[in-house]
């Protein structure tokens, strides 16, 4: 499956079925990130039910130092 993850073209095999699986495959700390799929926020509660499709654009953000 080809995805755009944080602006980077990314190929994931096997294809993740949903956003929760996507985060596991990307080895991202799921409690410490927020996810946008094609510009729309996917809440924590929705992650397991929200399907990921070929060509989707995903943003995964977290806290960093700032003022």
């Amino acid at each position: 499956m080809r995805l755009l993850v944080n602006g980077e073209p990314t190929v994931l095999e096997p294809a993740p079925a949903n956003v929760a699986e996507l985060l596991v495959q990307l080895r991202l700390p799921h409690e410490r990130v927020a996810v946008e799929l094609n510009g729309e926020i996917v809440t924590r509660a929705e992650r397991a039910a929200r399907a990921v499709h070929d060509g989707d654009s995903v943003e995964v953000v977290t806290l960093v130092g700032g003022g």
Binding site: R32, V61, T62, V64, G65, G66
Partner: protein, 268 residues
């Protein structure tokens, strides 16, 4: 002597420390953690960014923010209304119950990092309607501050000088007018000086004027000894607040002797 003071109220959040600190520009996470603690701050600002590549087991900012610390996500780096709203929503999703507040920041100019004031007002209006508690960063413009009150800002945060400049208070008179007009209209809405403070005397000076709090980052993080400066800033803010509450002496043009004129051993 302990200062008998009311808390700094930011929406639902009550703070006894009037110093809010940023978490950027530190040399490492140990320094960040120490400075947060030494500053006595009960609220920290953070930025929302794409997840950086990280090695297994490596610490992140999450590990050094104490669990009882209030977190104020910012929309720093946003130049448009849409980017600001999107960043604020991601911050709320990320922080859950801890993410109801947002520092609204829409930048209008790359060199000065001065805010895009109309976009800041629009962003504040939209985010308030979505249930956010908005603390907008704004130019030291009294009218802009009043417009932010109109759209429901929970505090106004005028700059003292450009972000990261350390120039101190460039326009104390505007700040005095902001305090006057904001307090006349909404005495319950805090005025927080955000950006431009360089040294504790800058922080003390604005606190003496009656500002409700100070938000700073670079002045601590980029001091040669950041830990010592964190403590110094805590003292500066506290001293300024105590002086404001104490009420300064009236100024006079001529001298007024502190020692008695009676009982002098010589004649004049």
């Amino acid at each position: 002597m302990t200062v008998n003071d009311t808390p700094l109220q930011l929406g639902p959040v009550s703070l006894t420390s009037r110093l809010i600190v940023g978490t950027g520009k530190y040399r490492d996470l140990d320094e960040t953690a120490d400075c947060l603690r030494l500053s006595g701050a009960q609220m920290v600002t953070v930025a929302i960014r794409r997840v950086p590549p990280k090695k297994e087991g490596e610490r992140s900012l999450w590990d050094v923010i104490p669990p009882d610390m209030h977190i104020l996500p910012n929309t720093a780096g946003c130049y448009t209304l849409d980017d600001c709203l999107r960043t604020a929503r991601l911050g709320r999703e990320l922080l859950g119950e801890r993410g109801k507040l947002v520092k609204v920041e829409v930048i209008g100019d790359e060199k000065t990092l001065f805010p895009d004031v109309p976009a800041t007002i629009e962003a504040t209006r939209a985010l308030v309607n979505e249930g956010f508690v908005c603390l907008p960063y704004v130019t030291d413009d009294p009218v802009a501050c009043l417009r932010l009150l109109d759209v429901g800002a929970a505090a106004v945060m005028p700059l003292a000088a450009p972000i990261g400049s350390g120039l101190g208070v460039r326009n104390p008179h505007n700040l005095a007018i902001i305090l006057e007009v904001v307090k006349a209209k909404r005495p319950d809405v805090p005025v927080i000086v955000d950006a431009g403070v360089g040294v504790p005397s800058d922080a003390a000076r604005v606190m003496e004027m009656g500002v409700d709090g100070v938000l700073m980052n670079t002045a601590i993080a980029q001091a040669q000894n950041a830990r010592l400066m964190a403590e110094a800033m805590k003292d500066g803010v506290r001293a300024g607040r105590a002086a404001y509450l104490a009420g300064r002496m009236p100024m006079k043009l001529y001298a007024s002797a502190s020692s008695p004129l009676q009982g002098l051993i010589h004649t004049r």
